[in-house]
Symmetry: C2
Subunit: 322 residues, 2 copies
C-alpha cells in the first residue's frame, strides 16, 4: 500500500518542487532512458517538461494520435512542445483504436478498449522498442482520490490499484505530479515557462472524444462531436471556466428542417466551474451565448437538431457523461 | 380534398364564433347523440364546452386514463369540468395502453400503439356502446398544417388525410376548432367562461407522458418522468411560456452519489416561447431557476443524475422530442 500525501496549493513552492522532482527523476532513471506519452493536457505536458529538464535527450516522448482527438490537436500539441525545445514523435494509430472500439457502447468497455489499445498495442510496442527502463505518467492527486473512491478507473495509476506495473508492463512508473491538484499543476507549468494557453488548457479526458460520445464511438460519430467541439471551444474560449465540452447523445430526437420531419441528433453542452474537479457547478453562461452555440451547432454539425446545456452540479453529475 | 380556411386571431369574434359553432354542431347531430374524448388540454376542453352548450345531455364525454397522464390529472380534469356543469365519465385503461407499448422504442410506433389502443380498443368500444352518430374532435389549424407538411401524424384529423372516417370508425367527425390557432382557441375558451388555468393550460401531447420518454414507455419510466414533470410544472407555473416539459432520456450518463459512481438517468427540460407552436424559442429562464429545478429533479426523482435545458429554436428542433 502506497500512501500519497497531498501538497496543497498554498504550500506549494513551484520552483522548489521543480528542482526536487527533476532531482528525483534523474536519480531514478540514472543512466537509462525514460519514455512517456504526451496527451496534450496540462498534466502530461507538465510531466513532459519536468522529465525533459531532468533527462534531456534520454527522454523519449510520443504523441499517439488515436483518431479521437480534437480538430488539429495532434499537430498543434507537437508544435507547441517543439517551441519549448522538447522533441515529440507523432504516432499515427486511429485504425487500431477504432478497430478496438467497434461495437462497444458501454462506457467502461470503451475506456477499457482505449486503455488496452493504448498500453498493450501501441504504446507498449513503442516502449519495448525504445529500450527505456522508466515510464513517466501525469497522474495527479484527484485521480488517486477518485480511483480509491471507486468513481473512476484511471489507466495511469496502476500502482495505486495494487498492480505491479513492472511485471505487468515491463517498466517502472514515475508519477511526479501525484501530490498535486490541478491548480498546483498549473502553477508548476507556469514556473516551467509554459505559455498560458498550455497550462490553463481545459482538461481533456483520457478516452478523448470517445468520452464525448454516448454509445458507440465510430469514426463518423467522432467526426460529428469533433465539429461540435470546435464550435463550443471557440465560443467558450474567453469564458472563465474549469472545463467545457460537447457531448453527442445516442438518443435521437424529432426535429424539423426545410419543413420536413427529421429524426436527428442531440448535442449536450457542459461548462463547469470547479477548483479541482471533485465538485463542480455549471457555469452561468449568458442566454445569448447559449443560443448562439445552439444556432452554430445545429447549422455546422450535420444532422444535429437539438442542443442542451447541462445545469446539474457535481455531485450528482460527473464532469464527463461517459 | 377539404380546404380549411384559417381564422386569424385578429379577425376572431369569440362570441360570434361560439354561436356559429353551436348552431353547426346542433344542425349536424340533429336528434342523435354525439361522443367525445376529453384529454384535458385546451383544445379538447373548448370542444367539450362548445358541444355541451350545443347538445346538453346528448353529448357523452369520456376521459380515458391511459396511465400516461400527469400526477393527479384524470381526477382534476373531471372535477374542473364538473365545476363548469359538464359531466365527464372517467375510464380506467392503463393496462391496455402499457400492454400495447411494451417493447416499442420508435416514436412513431409508440404513437401508433397509443392511437390504436385509444381508437380501436378503448374509445372505439365506448363509441359503439354509446349509440352516438357523431364524434367531436379538438383538431386545430396548426395540426392540419403540420400534417400536410409531413411533420406530424395527427390522429385526430383523419379527414384531412383522406381517410373516410365514417367507413373507418363508424361515425362522423366534427372538428369545430379546425380554423383556429392556439391563441384563437384560448380566446374562445375564455369567452365560454373557462377558468384561466384551463384556457391557458400549457399544451400536452396526445401520447401524454409517453412522448416525454425517449425509448420504451414502461410503467416505471412513466412514473419517473411523471415525478420530474411535477417539479418542472411547479417551478415554471408562474413563467410566461407557451409550453414546458420534462423529458426522460434513454441514454444513461455517469454520475456520482454518496461518493460512489452511479450510471444514472438524464432529464431534459424544455420551455418554449411561441405564438402558435409553428416556430418557438427557448424561454430565457434565470440561472437560479434552472439550478433549482436541477437540484429538485436530481433529489426527488430516483436515479436521475443529470438535468439539461434545451437551448435550440424550432426549427430545427420541434416542441416535443418524441
Amino acid at each position: 500500500m502506497i500512501t500519497v500525501r497531498e501538497i496543497q496549493s498554498d504550500d506549494l513552492n513551484p520552483q522548489a518542487f521543480i528542482e526536487e522532482q527533476c532531482r528525483l527523476i534523474s536519480e531514478q532513471v540514472g543512466a537509462s532512458k525514460a519514455v512517456n506519452a504526451l496527451s496534450g493536457g496540462v498534466d502530461s505536458s507538465v510531466t513532459t517538461l519536468l522529465a525533459h529538464r531532468a533527462l534531456g535527450s534520454r527522454l523519449l516522448t510520443y504523441f499517439i494520435d488515436n483518431g479521437l482527438m480534437r480538430e488539429g490537436e495532434p499537430e498543434s500539441v507537437v508544435l507547441a512542445m517543439k517551441d519549448l525545445g522538447v522533441p515529440v514523435k507523432l504516432v499515427d494509430a486511429p485504425r487500431e483504436f477504432f478497430s478496438a472500439l467497434k461495437g462497444k457502447t458501454d462506457p467502461e468497455e470503451k475506456r477499457q478498449a482505449i486503455t488496452d489499445t493504448f498500453y498493450k498495442t501501441v504504446f507498449g510496442r513503442l516502449v519495448k522498442e525504445s529500450g527505456a527502463s522508466h515510464l513517466l505518467q501525469g497522474t495527479i492527486y484527484t485521480d488517486v482520490e477518485e480511483t480509491v473512491a471507486g468513481i473512476k478507473r484511471q489507466h495511469n495509476i496502476l500502482a495505486q490499484l495494487g498492480i505491479d506495473t513492472e511485471a505487468a508492463f515491463g517498466y517502472k512508473v514515475i508519477e511526479p505530479l501525484i501530490q498535486l491538484r490541478k491548480t498546483g499543476v498549473r502553477a508548476v507549468g507556469q514556473a516551467l515557462g509554459m505559455p498560458e494557453n498550455m497550462y490553463h488548457r481545459p482538461p481533456f479526458p483520457g478516452p478523448a472524444l470517445a468520452a464525448r460520445v454516448i454509445g458507440e464511438a465510430t469514426p463518423e460519430r467522432i467526426a460529428l462531436v469533433r465539429k461540435a467541439t470546435v464550435v463550443v471551444e471557440e465560443e467558450l474560449s474567453e469564458i472563465e471556466a474549469f472545463q467545457y465540452m460537447a457531448i453527442l447523445h445516442e438518443d435521437r430526437v424529432t426535429g424539423i428542417r426545410h419543413a420536413k420531419r427529421e429524426y436527428g441528433f442531440q448535442i449536450e453542452i457542459r461548462c463547469w466551474d470547479s477548483r479541482d474537479a471533485v465538485t463542480a457547478s455549471p457555469t452561468r453562461l449568458t442566454f445569448e451565448l447559449l443560443r448562439r452555440m445552439a444556432d452554430r451547432v445545429t447549422s455546422e454539425v450535420p444532422g444535429v437538431v437539438s442542443v442542451t446545456y447541462n445545469v446539474t452540479t457535481k455531485p450528482p453529475s460527473t464532469i464527463e457523461a461517459v
